[in-house]
Subunit: 390 residues, 2 copies
């Protein structure tokens, strides 16, 4: 099967709010071969990644994505792994390359699954996709009272696990942060799994993070996520020394297998969170899932966007029974909610991957048309790129 | 001094060859405040970084560069450090952010130096810019004979140090690689400093690299650069265990202080090579220079482009007397050679930084006009970006 076309669709909400909600726009990728169409999504700044897809070369290790992918013959999962290596090598000096290629790679997996009439998780070697317990991802509200209300609402909808993050957490006083996490615990009840995401707010300031640990452990938070910027491994390692019951989680910014390995081996995180739409696609995410399993670390998807991204990010650890929890976008925008025709909804409080073929979800072309941003890039007056027809 | 404008100029050679020559295009940045103009350069894919400079926001940590910089008040070096942190935090989820901001940050340093009528190296706290011994960076030629000729030519021009890299090195047989490095040594003579850059050719394959060590040590190569992709720290560490006289060098791909620290602390490199145009500018490069000094590791600039980039990349370690060597583009394109009015040429085989104010080199506006690519980006029919007047 030869890749005959690669197209990008930049979707966005009419208004983008200045909050940590990653579902306000999307970059959807379509690849085609003969009668078949595969779909993927980049967790990326859409315009930057479109420029990366088509940019003129700068030199032999600074070349665009589309020219590496068009015309390539894909017959097996191994062919996708080889393509992955090639795109990285040929685009090494463009920082955006991995973000952009992620969505393309996911679309190619979808295409291969459709061609072979198998779900992608089976192409990865998993017999079964085990059900996962979804946690609802929410932003901390402006006040503890509002956070309490938000937690109540999620709990009443049957979620057994909730993650609060971003908002003002970590930016104000230790006392206010304590009130916030207590409110969250009260809202979800004693039995629920509570997770907290600090959104890298403390940079590499271990002491600032350490001051919040007592309150987090009081309310039995399972993990503290991204207290520091993703690459501050020494800070993670040092904070871990102060943790009694709580574990550290990180990894959503990982752009390759190595970054995830370093977080595990040097940083000491016990939950490794991978976004298939950023790490370079399903190939590196699966390698990380295998590595985590071998190191007794729990792999978790990072997903704050659409159900296309959700399925792509659960697939790499679908068959790992011990990795029981998955991130599940709860307050996504209209765009993200309506992107696929067949969303993945919890059944008896559990998420089960569709059985394919491919990824098993199909975009709604009406949604793509409705939220589409038409992009045109000209160099010296000549059109280099124009958004294709949906 | 308030930043009143930030402009980008994409320059390129008429033909881009598919070789490892990073001087075939350039992204030059101009910032203005009142009557003053500062200049910088990104080591980046120009079109991708222009998109990054102006892209619509996706969410609170996925925002463009220009909106973070325009109108900001810069009075001191500390203000630039604060801006650096802010741009990283607000652009965290756009992989290209650091590449793009690097050139902007360099231009702001140039502007501040001009405002305060001091060279940038003094703003960094160095009293003196010590002379550096430049090494000429060349690509391995197609045959050992041609590599020998190239080495002779450089040697005859007074260079005491030469680095060969890329080309076919590491892709063919061990014997051919041995012939290449022997030819390079013969060409530069017994006294010259010889360096070899493998350009990440072995991925993370330690054995492939190990097989080349004997030949490299026979001809007394000072460092082997980038045998592996920059983040494969375990491979660097393992190869180091096989090195007798040769040292490892890496770091040009570093996008933050942490990546460089990890190469030093975990990877065991003894030369840390930083490109100010990629790492986020002069602030992080100076922090790395300080860290390297404390760890007995030698800081070296990475520069394969213009003399604007050259000065910006030497500045962070200008006052470190023990870091004696600097990379110096030798076979740059016409574009790169003619970008500044006042190139930095070796005097008695040594490079001395200009005394400022600012970076002390000024772009030739004629060169910018000659090689300029006009860029226009439209979203939904409205112009988001158009190349400004030179």
């Amino acid at each position: 099967m030869k890749i005959e076309s690669v197209d990008f669709f930049y979707l966005k909400m009419p208004v983008i709010r200045d909050i940590g909600d990653g579902s306000q726009d999307a970059l959807v990728v379509r690849v085609r071969s003969g009668d078949l169409t595969g779909w993927g999504e980049c967790e990326a700044s859409p315009l930057v990644s479109i420029a990366n897809a088509v940019c003129p070369p700068s030199h032999s290790a600074c070349r665009n994505i589309v020219e590496q992918v068009l015309g390539v013959e894909i017959k097996t999962p191994e062919d996708i792994a080889v393509l992955n290596q090639r795109v990285r090598a040929r685009g090494m000096d463009i920082a955006q390359t991995v973000h952009t290629f992620s969505g393309v790679e996911i679309a190619i997996w979808d295409l291969l699954g459709k061609k072979r009439e198998e779900p992608v998780f089976q192409l990865l070697g998993y017999d079964t996709a085990y059900p996962k317990t979804p946690y609802a991802s929410l932003l901390f509200a402006e006040t503890p009272d509002k956070t309490y209300e938000a937690a109540r609402k999620v709990q009443s909808q049957g979620f057994r696990a909730v993650k609060f993050g971003w908002g003002g957490y970590g930016r104000g006083t230790v006392e206010n942060d304590r009130d916030q996490v207590h409110a969250a615990r009260e809202g979800i009840g004693l039995d629920g799994t509570l997770l907290v995401d600090a959104g890298t707010v403390w940079g590499e300031d271990v002491e600032a993070a350490r001051q919040r640990l007592a309150a987090l452990e009081e309310v039995r938070v399972t993990w503290l996520e991204e207290p520091f910027i993703g690459n501050a491994l020494h800070a993670y390692r040092e904070l871990k020394g102060h943790c009694e019951t709580i574990k550290l989680a990180a990894g959503e910014g990982s752009q390759d297998v190595f970054a995830a390995r370093h977080l595990i081996d040097t940083g000491g995180v016990e939950f490794i969170q991978i976004d298939t739409g950023r790490v370079g696609g399903i190939v590196p995410a699966k390698i990380i899932a295998d590595y985590a399993l071998a190191k007794n670390v729990t792999f978790v998807n990072h997903t704050f966007t659409t159900h296309l991204a959700l399925v792509a990010s659960i697939t790499p650890f679908a068959g790992v029974r011990s990795a029981e929890i998955c991130e599940y976008p709860f307050e996504a925008t209209e765009l993200a909610k309506s992107l696929v025709i067949d969303p993945v909804v919890p059944v008896n409080g559990q998420i089960v991957l569709p059985e394919g073929p491919g990824l098993g979800v199909e975009p709604d072309l009406g949604t793509i048309s409705e939220f589409l941003v038409e992009v045109e890039i000209k160099l010296d007056g000549k059109v280099l790129y124009r958004t294709p027809l949906v």
